[in-house]
C-alpha cells in the first residue's frame, strides 16, 4: 500500500531545473533508496517532500494528504521526518536539548518526550552518556546518531534519511545501517538517499536511480544489483567482472 507518492514532480532553483518530472512511490513499511551521483537532485527531492522547497509542479501525496503546499512544520506534525544531509545538529545546544526539539510537536506532553528519549537512548546508548554535552563537541558518528535520534523523537511514520553514511568510517557505517534496519523493524517506513550504493542496495527492498533530475532506473534492489549499468556506475564493478 503506497504511503508516500510523488507524481510528476518538477523543482527548480531560479532558472536552474534540478528535478525534472519524477514519479516515486514508497509503500508502508518499506525501505526504499534513492541513488544518484553528485548533483543528481536527491537532496532537492527530500527537501521538497519535507516542505523546505516548493514544487514548480506536481503532487506529493502522504496518505490522504497533499503536501506540496503545506508548511514544513505541518508536515512534521503529520508524521514525516527529514534527517538532513550533513547532520545539522544544533551545536551550541546539548544532546538532550537537540532531542527535545525533535519532539517539538509533543512539547506540552513531557511523558511522550521522555519515552521518546528512552527509545533513542536504547538505539544509541552512546547518546545517553553524552546527554549533557554540547552537540558540537560530538564526533561525526555521534552527531549522525543524534541527527537520526532527533528525527525519531517526532515518532514519524516516514523517515527521510539524507546520506547517513557521509564521512563516516566503514565500521561506523555498518553500525548506523544496522540501526536503520532496526528502526524499520519498529515500523518506520524509510526513504534513504545514499551515494554508498553498495550498502544502500543491501538494506533497501527497492531502489530508484536519479540522473540529472530524472529517474533513470528503478526496481527491486536485488535486480538493480545485478544490472550492469548500476554495477558500472554505482558499484564500481568493472564490465569484465560483471561477466564473470
Amino acid at each position: 500500500m503506497s504511503l508516500l507518492e510523488l507524481g510528476d514532480v518538477h523543482i527548480a532553483y531560479g532558472n536552474v531545473k534540478a528535478v525534472k518530472g519524477i514519479d516515486l512511490v514508497v509503500n508502508d513499511g518499506e525501505i526504499v533508496t534513492l541513488l544518484g551521483a553528485n548533483g543528481a537532485g536527491k537532496t532537492t527531492t527530500l527537501r521538497a517532500i519535507s516542505g523546505l522547497l516548493r514544487l514548480q509542479s506536481g503532487v506529493i501525496r502522504f496518505g490522504e494528504h497533499e503536501l506540496q503546499t503545506m508548511p514544513a512544520h505541518k508536515i512534521v506534525e503529520l508524521g514525516i521526518c527529514h534527517v538532513p544531509e550533513g547532520r545539522r545538529v544544533f551545536g551550541t545546544l546539548t544532546v538532550e536539548e537537540n532531542l527535545n526539539l525533535g519532539a517539538y510537536k509533543y512539547r506540552n506532553d513531557p511523558g511522550r518526550v521522555q519515552s521518546g528519549r528512552e527509545r533513542v537512548y536504547q538505539l544509541f546508548p552512546r547518546l545517553e552518556e553524552r546527554q549533557r554535552q554540547l552537540a558540537g563537541t560530538l564526533s561525526g558518528g555521534e552527531q549522525q546518531m543524534l541527527a537520526i535520534g532527533r528525527g525519531l523523537m517526532s515518532d514519524p511514520r516516514v523517515l527521510l534519511l539524507d546520506e547517513p553514511s557521509l564521512g563516516l568510517a566503514p565500521k561506523l557505517v555498518q553500525e548506523i545501517f544496522r540501526t536503520i534496519c532496526e528502526i524499520n523493524r519498529q515500523g518506520v517506513t524509510i526513504l534513504l538517499v545514499e551515494q554508498n550504493a553498495r550498502i544502500a542496495l543491501r538494506v533497501a527492498e527497492r531502489a530508484y536511480v536519479l540522473e540529472t533530475g530524472r529517474i533513470a532506473l528503478s526496481g527491486e534492489s536485488l535486480e538493480l544489483r545485478r544490472d550492469p549499468r548500476v554495477q558500472q556506475a554505482y558499484l564500481g564493478v568493472k564490465e569484465a567482472a560483471g561477466l564473470s
Partner: protein, 301 residues
Amino acid sequence: MALFIEQLVNGLTVGAVYSLVALGYTMVYGVMRMINFAHGDFFMIGSYLGFTLVSSALLGGAIPLWAALIVVVVLSMAGVAIIGVIVERAAYRPLRRSSRLTAVVSAIGVSIFLQNAVMLIWGPRYRAYPPWSVPSITWQVGGIYINFMQVLILAVSFGLMVALYLFVQRTTVGAAIRATAIDHDTARLMGIDVDQIIRLIFLIGPALGAAAGVLLGLYYRQIHFTVGWTYGLKAFTAAIMGGIGNIPGAMVGGLLLGILEMLGAGYISSAWKDVFVFLILILLLMFRPTGLLGERIAEKV
C-alpha cells in the same frame, strides 16, 4: 571613593535600562540577521504609553505607588508588544526573502512612521512625567545615596532579565528560539514554526524596550518623540559590546556601557557623556565588531 560608588550605582541603573533595549536588538539579529533600526522607537512609545498611564487615574492611591508603577510598566509592555507584532507582520515579513538593504530601508521607514504617529498623538514638544509619579524617597546605604527610582529600575530590569534568561535557557520554546537562530531550515525540520518564533521575538523585544522606556521616563521625567534614536543607538552599542546575537552579552554590555557612561560623566564631564558612548561604538565597530566578550561566546544567541 564615594563619588566612584555613586557613579557606579547610577551607571548600573541606566545600564540596566540599556540592557533591556539591547536585548531587543540582539534577539532580532540572532534570529533574523537583521538590525531593527526601529527598535529604539519601541522604547520611545513605551515611555509615552507610560506617561499617559501614569497621568491617568491609575495612581489614584487605591494600591501602593510602587505596585501601581509596575502595573504601568506591564500595560505599556503589552501595548508595545502588540505594536511590535504588527510591525513585524506588516513591514518585515513581506521582505523576509529580500536583500538586507531592503529590510534596513523598511526599518527606517517604520521608525519615521512611529515617530510621526507619536508626534501627532502626543504633540511635538517635550512632555514630562508628573512630579508626583515617583515618591521622593532616598535611602542612605553605607555612605552612598540610592533613591526609589534606582531601586525600582534595578528590581524590574533584573527581574525581567532573569525571567528572559530562564525562558530562553530552560524551556523547549526557548531552545526553539536558540535553534532557529542557528539554522532556520533545520529548525523547520524539527516541526518549529519559524514564523511563530519570529513573531515571539517581536513580542518580547519591543515589550522589554517598552519597560525600559517607562523606567527611564520615570527616572529622567522628560520625554520626546525623538529619544528613540539616541537611546536606541546607545543600546545598539551595548549589544555590539556584548557581541550581537548573544543574549547574556547584551545584558552585560548594557551594564558596562551604563557604568562607563556614568564614570565618564562623573570624572570627566557630564556634558560629554553621549560623546563617550558614540566614541565607544565607533571604536568597537572598527576594532572589535564581534564584541568585547570575544568571538567564541559571541556565537549567535
